[in-house]
Symmetry: C2
Subunit: 490 residues, 2 copies
Amino acid sequence: MAKNLTTRDKDYSRWYNDLVVQADLADNSGVRGCMVIKPHGYAIWEKIQAELDFRFKETGHVNAYFPLFIPKSYFSKEAAHVDGFAKECAVVTHYRLKNNPDGPGVIVDEDAKLEEELIVRPTSETIIWDSYRNWVQSYRDLPILVNQWANVVRWEMRTRLFLRTTEFLWQEGHTAHATEAEAVAEAVQMLHVYGDFVEEYMAIPVIRGVKSDNERFAGALETYCIEALMQDGKALQAGTSHFLGQNFAKAFDVKFQDKDGEVKHVWATSWGVSTRLMGALIMTHSDDHGLVLPPKLAPIQVVIVPIYRGEEELQAIDEVANALVADFKKMGIRVKYDHRDTYKPGWKFNEYELKGVPIRIAIGPKDLEKGTVEIARRDTLTKSYLPMEGLASEVSSMLDVIQVELFERAKAHRDANIHFVTTWEEFTAALDRGGFVSAHWDGSPETEDQIKDKTKATIRCIPLDNPLEEGQCILTGKPSTQRVLFARAY
Amino acid sequence: MAKNLTTRDKDYSRWYNDLVVQADLADNSGVRGCMVIKPHGYAIWEKIQAELDFRFKETGHVNAYFPLFIPKSYFSKEAAHVDGFAKECAVVTHYRLKNNPDGPGVIVDEDAKLEEELIVRPTSETIIWDSYRNWVQSYRDLPILVNQWANVVRWEMRTRLFLRTTEFLWQEGHTAHATEAEAVAEAVQMLHVYGDFVEEYMAIPVIRGVKSDNERFAGALETYCIEALMQDGKALQAGTSHFLGQNFAKAFDVKFQDKDGEVKHVWATSWGVSTRLMGALIMTHSDDHGLVLPPKLAPIQVVIVPIYRGEEELQAIDEVANALVADFKKMGIRVKYDHRDTYKPGWKFNEYELKGVPIRIAIGPKDLEKGTVEIARRDTLTKSYLPMEGLASEVSSMLDVIQVELFERAKAHRDANIHFVTTWEEFTAALDRGGFVSAHWDGSPETEDQIKDKTKATIRCIPLDNPLEEGQCILTGKPSTQRVLFARAY
């Protein structure tokens, strides 16, 4: 067990924070609610970015970049949207500092006040749709399939590293289409791009569904989402994709001449995932020893540590290790040989365990004699010995096995924690045990609000292809046509 | 010549702006001084990013991410730094909007005023060095070799797309070292990483040198730079790398215990290039027909356009074109086959010329008969006919040739425009002709200021390995030990 790492049983929330900081993923900064993403954390985020970017491009999208600042007046143009975001906006009011005439340091120059305040983007629908007005004249200019990698700011009162920070990194897709059907298909497609990525790369099983009215994005007609279950039984929304109808096109007057000659408003979607995914990753797989990483996202997949006394032993090990490194690289394995003499092997073992390197290989003088290596899996904490001969292909298979088993383990945990209930007592008891609770609901926003007030649980989603089933709402007893998934959530 | 594109002779500045907008590289936004980088422009920026990121990693750097906001007090800690940036800072003063009680829309909520204002980063030295204090205890924690890809904001009064915008995208490296020598070596290394990249990838010849006192970065002891010459004879600073000494380490109290047991301040560098490089790219190679792109940075290197009447002809061309596309892709050529029936060939020719696709291939029914294609080079506007047989390898070679010739042409232009002068009359005449002017200078900041006031020219750099040569300052006649390069600059 890593030094100073609180165990999950003792305090899950503190374990999470300890782990993020000690595994060098991120740290708090001197700016309230803003984090520093450290190199190890950022390297994982880069892997997430690269694969998502690849999948976006494979589905026909291109990247662009829109301004950080949004004029205040743009914000008010879509009513639901401004309601959703106005309360958490960082506002730029001045554009200059000056020397403090009354002492040291600098102060805001009151002569440099902006005529119209600028909002630091919490999301970019308004500034983007203001641009799209100039991009679209004819049906031939559609669809617009644009994504942006950017930082956004939402002034959160309670923040947690990766999960909820004032500034965070994300991508936001913003597409424009000639027809409603095409826009809906795009929103659904991107939901599945997210779902497939999170399952295949992050080894996190997700439930794909739609949000209830209460949980819908401010300005959307339909919000699709993927929902994951963390080890502590709380749910986490891992990504959303919105069908925006013509709300933004109407607010920003984005029209096109269709093939039939008619001038029509454009149909829209937006979709995003953020550095929050890092939180999901950590809380799905990690343990009391530190981070556990799925091989596909691990910046280093295999670390080789020499166990030696004196230069001579090290040289002999170096030779073998360098040959292994070359073999591994040929197979596309991301490998590091750590023969720094400033740290002892025990320190290195701890370090790579804490940082989640999937496979650790130790080589000592006895291994050289026997032609074997000691190989340790981070996920299971099991050790075995393998011959050096053909090691690269064994390790490659082991990485594949780890990737699959991490997903299977998380899925078994998730599946074991979906509780089907019919009464209010069962409902609250299930919520206290943790997990998703599948229950009947009468479909009204008021009932959802009451349930949230009483239990802190929200409707996470109505799964896609949810079977219809008659029943009674767990709170009001009113008739219901289907079960929905409740949970307490991050 | 592209429709509506002003010629360079007529108005170079307007030509530039027309080109940026019409080639779909970028556009002005509704936010003063902030641009929208459109997909075509962003795709080129992505190529720049990818190659630079690769070169940074090859030289041992890793990426991280630091907050967008900097508390005002951090800014004052390094005196020269705050002087350099205080006058152009966007300042966040509030964190909430509320409904306007007196009418429609939203207003700033005066109850949500920040205790300490936050500056939107114009550069990140201060917030990063505030973090580094926690990263470094021992010599074993050094060096820190971190880079960040980010947006920054400098409140510029006069803005131009890519060249000078209020918000821009860049990377900023921030490294920490145990010794002065190591930090200086890092700053010089990164200068050459920039120089090599810009020459090899962007086909822009640069002069590598150091800045005079006046032009040095606010807070640096030495600023290394690469300087390029645009077609209109104005210079453009394409990248800088700073040796910061211990200024920031002292301001933010970043110390380490060295091998000898002593506690010392850390030595620093920072270095950056920005979306300004896009401006340099455009103004080095493009012509009155539109953008000219070096093949290594072209998102599409080859476009194939079918010339046909009716479905039958198109089908026959499709078959051949698809086979060529497959061949080209195998050789790693980025190729697009544009058989959209919504646009005519002439429109497509214009479009790809404007957007700078290096090679255009046209295939018509006669080509099918003869087994040839028409191939047009964007840079020279020359056409030739080549057999389809073995076309991929011919095209691949042609791309290499274009890359080299673009560089050679730019270098010939640059070299022909370095003027060596000895008198003030020669100096001002040379400046009016345009180009770099190599002249003696007495080494004083006051003289440099006077020259700038009289001519608008600044010292662009003192080239690395500048030969010593006795002479007299062109303005004051005082003794000088070396020539330096002056120019009017972007």
